[in-house]
């Protein structure tokens, strides 16, 4: 019987264009907040997991070295987990296995990004191999455009229906971000605004795309013993799953997307989830692009393949719907990449412990957190629940 592990507290920075702080100070802001949230102190921490995006985006290599003090990690055992965009969830997985192994009672997980000091799309281009793909798969939007077109074509979904559903998602998330004190982009948008915004890569328009953000997130994972001693509501880790596809974009199907399907399945099996749409109360899906969010709904078993736009337009995934997705406003409104996956975990934990404030889904007991990374290559999932 594996040891139970809980998320006992979270800390986030106010995400956005943070020219008021240096990169280490940004990290420090999140770390200070997780200690305030839990009442724990750095001396209680048995291990620290650090992670972010690659050096080219950071401007500094091996950032755990530079942020040793900011993470309160001096003299602590350390691991450095990086899996591209899925880093945030992979950090959470590392902290989970560390506590589950019995080698630590309390592990601090920290993810961060200061994207206004870097060039994210130039970095994304260097994720591709230098010989074949780099010349034509530049940056993220082109890849996501191809993926969404492939999906639409395969299931013969009318372009205007997809366009409406994607715009609906954008409006919903931008509205939700007003209820999240930490969210970056807070602007009122209408369906018409989205549909008339500037084309990035057809069919993706500006308001279908996440921003660059500065931000950090810190989450403390603890054993059952510590969780119970704290005497507060905690979020229990019910399931974890992770999968990666082949490096070459054309080698795997990105619509019936095995890494997303199998990562979710592994986590569902551990959590005993059979009908995710009914059993999950909230999902923090990694959604840098509106179109892609719908592909995730299908791969995660929220609905049949090709049907997501219908359900979206019926409001199934809206705040008052059957399965609210990203009540935080999601990645679409806040994307400090190295922190983004960990923010999904933090938001899921806030929901199942009733601490999500204005964007609380009433009575949420079971939540999914997800992150995607690489050029549509990696998917990681964590399921959190209010009950052990």
């Amino acid at each position: 019987m594996a040891r139970a592990v809980a998320v006992v507290g979270v800390g986030q920075t106010h995400h956005g264009r943070r020219m008021d702080v240096s990169y280490p100070d940004l990290v420090r802001e999140a770390v200070v907040r997780v200690f305030e949230d839990t009442g724990l102190s750095p001396k209680d921490v048995d291990g620290v997991v650090s992670g972010t995006m690659p050096s080219m985006m950071e401007g500094v290599a091996l950032t755990h070295l530079y942020f040793a003090e900011a993470m309160q990690a001096v003299g602590k055992p350390i691991l450095k987990t990086e899996t591209c965009g899925s880093t945030g969830v992979s950090i959470a997985h590392t902290a989970f296995y560390w506590v589950a192994s019995g080698m630590a009672e309390v592990v601090l997980a920290v993810g961060h990004e200061k994207m206004y000091e870097g060039d994210s799309q130039a970095t994304m281009t260097t994720v591709l191999d230098p010989f074949y793909q780099r010349y034509f798969l530049a940056g993220a939007p082109g890849v996501f455009s191809m993926q969404s077109q492939l999906w639409a074509t395969r299931y013969k979904i009318p372009q205007d229906k997809i366009r409406d559903a994607a715009a609906f998602i954008s409006v919903t998330h931008h509205q939700s971000a007003f209820d999240n004190p930490y969210a970056h982009i807070k602007m009122k948008v209408t369906m018409e605004d989205v549909k008339n915004s500037r084309i990035i890569v057809y069919p993706i328009r500006l308001l279908d795309v996440c921003p660059n953000s500065d931000g950090a997130c810190a989450v403390i994972f603890a054993s059952e013993k510590v969780a119970k001693r704290l005497g507060r509501k905690v979020a229990w880790v019910k399931g974890v799953g992770y999968r990666g596809d082949e490096q070459f974009f054309g080698d795997s199907d990105k619509v019936v997307w095995q890494s997303a399907i199998e990562a979710a399945k592994q986590a569902y099996d551990q959590a005993g989830i059979k009908d995710p749409l009914k059993e999950l109360d909230v999902a923090e899906v990694y959604n840098p692009f509106t179109y892609q969010e719908m592909i995730f709904y299908e791969c995660f078993g929220f609905c049949e393949f090709g049907k997501a736009p219908d359900l979206v337009l019926r409001g199934i995934f809206s705040r008052e719907g059957e399965l609210p997705v990203c009540p935080s406003g999601g990645v679409l409104c806040t994307n400090p990449i190295g922190a983004t996956g960990l923010i999904r975990v933090a938001e899921a934990a806030m929901q199942v412990t009733g601490r999500a404030g204005e964007h609380q889904v009433p009575g949420a007991k079971l939540a999914l957190a997800h992150a995607m990374g690489g050029i549509d290559q990696f998917n990681g999932v964590m399921i959190l629940g209010s009950e052990l």
Binding site: V60, L79, K80
Partner: protein, 380 residues
């Protein structure tokens, strides 16, 4: 009581350069390790890789590029940055958690396609204070060496003797990149790099791919007759600013203490029979002796003078030739673990030490003047 974890098979390649491309090299070691363990990649519980994004290979998100040859496609997995022994520790903890019975650990570093070591280590420096100074690992090490000599009266000859020993040991290592019979005078007469360090006292830039299959006790006994147990491990991170640190009393002591406690080691000098330690700069091997508890503070020079860390000595250190002979920056920690595995199983060929090895220490480090350390104890 956490579950016991063993290493059941290993494979590695190395050298200075190779005509083989990254994918072929990585695939070859991964396949070899799996075949030796008699397990297919579909049966492996999870995969933990180690590779670096420090502009190594010109690719960001190294895991994206190496996922296929690492045997990780559609397997649960993760990647550690910077230090490949992190991947060994993480793989072991995944098995200890009870969620997996096996883990494939892979370290990848194609040095011949990387910039110079210090072009990369310069990027460890913060953009405001250290980088304008051009601070890199070799400069930080030179400062540390000067302090070490001044504080304890360690001589340059004693530091050079580490290179003499390790480059001679490397003659038996087919993967070693730099090897030969040198005198201390010849080491000191090699090209000055950063005063007082000379070229042969600084590790070269090499290639290295390493793969290890880890298993729970029950699974290990099915896969091999001679498992090598991971008896203890510890990591520790020091402060970033080198002026804030005592460069002679670093976090290696802490990392070792954690590993020793886990492995039940109270007298390292008596209980450890062999050590494979990461010494990118010759003098650091002496300093690490002290912080590992092999001798008292300032006594590292005497240890090398007495010859006890020679291949035929009481406590052989780096019979493989160590990092001075072969330095694939990221995977080097795992190559130390593989050497210890081979020595414990008496499969080290020409490099096999004379004494019986029941317990071996493995060490990895990265960062300015040893900012971060990992210690792993392996045993029969």
């Amino acid at each position: 009581m956490p579950r016991k974890v063993a290493i059941v098979s290993v494979a590695q390649i190395g050298g200075a350069d190779s005509k083989e491309n990254f994918y072929d090299q990585a695939y070859r070691v991964v396949k070899e390790a799996l075949d030796k363990a008699g397990i297919s990649r579909e049966k492996v519980g999870c995969v933990v890789t180690a590779a670096s994004d420090i502009f190594h290979g010109g690719i960001s998100c190294a895991n994206a590029y190496h996922w296929d040859p690492a045997g990780a496609v559609l397997r649960n997995g993760s990647r550690q940055d910077a230090e490949s022994l992190f991947a060994l520790v993480y793989g072991a903890m995944r098995i200890m958690s009870g969620h997996y019975d096996t883990a494939l650990v892979v370290g990848l570093c194609k040095g011949s396609e990387n910039p110079e070591n210090d072009t990369c280590t310069l990027m460890f420096s913060d953009p405001f204070y250290f980088r304008p100074l051009g601070l890199n690992e070799t400069m930080a090490a030179a400062l540390q060496m000067r302090l070490f000599m001044d504080h304890y009266g360690i001589t340059r000859e004693q530091c050079a003797k580490v290179a003499v020993k390790n480059l001679r040991n490397a003659l038996g290592n087919p993967y070693a990149h730099r090897k030969g019979i040198y005198s201390a005078e010849e080491i000191l007469a090699s090209r000055p790099v950063v005063e007082p360090l000379t070229e042969l006292e600084c590790a070269p830039k090499s290639e290295g791919m390493a793969a290890l299959v880890l298993a729970s006790e029950e699974m290990a006994r099915k896969l091999t007759d001679r498992p090598v147990w991971i008896e203890g491990f510890g990591t520790s991170l020091d402060a970033y600013w080198i002026g804030d640190r005592d460069l002679l009393q670093g976090q290696l002591t802490n990392a070792a203490k954690r590993a020793y406690e886990m492995a039940g080691i109270t007298a390292p000098w008596e209980q450890i029979h062999l050590a494979e330690i990461t010494e990118p700069y010759a003098f650091q091997e002496l300093l690490w002796y002290e912080q590992l508890g092999f001798c008292g503070p300032g006594q590292g020079g005497k240890l090398i003078d007495q010859g006890v860390t020679e291949k035929g000595g009481l406590l052989p250190v780096n019979p493989s030739g160590g990092t001075l002979a072969w330095n694939p920056y990221v995977s080097r920690g795992l190559h130390r673990a593989i050497e210890a595995f081979l020595q414990i199983r008496e499969e080290a060929g020409e490099r096999q030490v004379h004494r019986e090895v029941k317990t071996a220490l493995v060490h990895g480090t990265h960062g300015f003047a040893g900012q971060c350390h990992t210690v792993v104890i392996l045993g029969s």
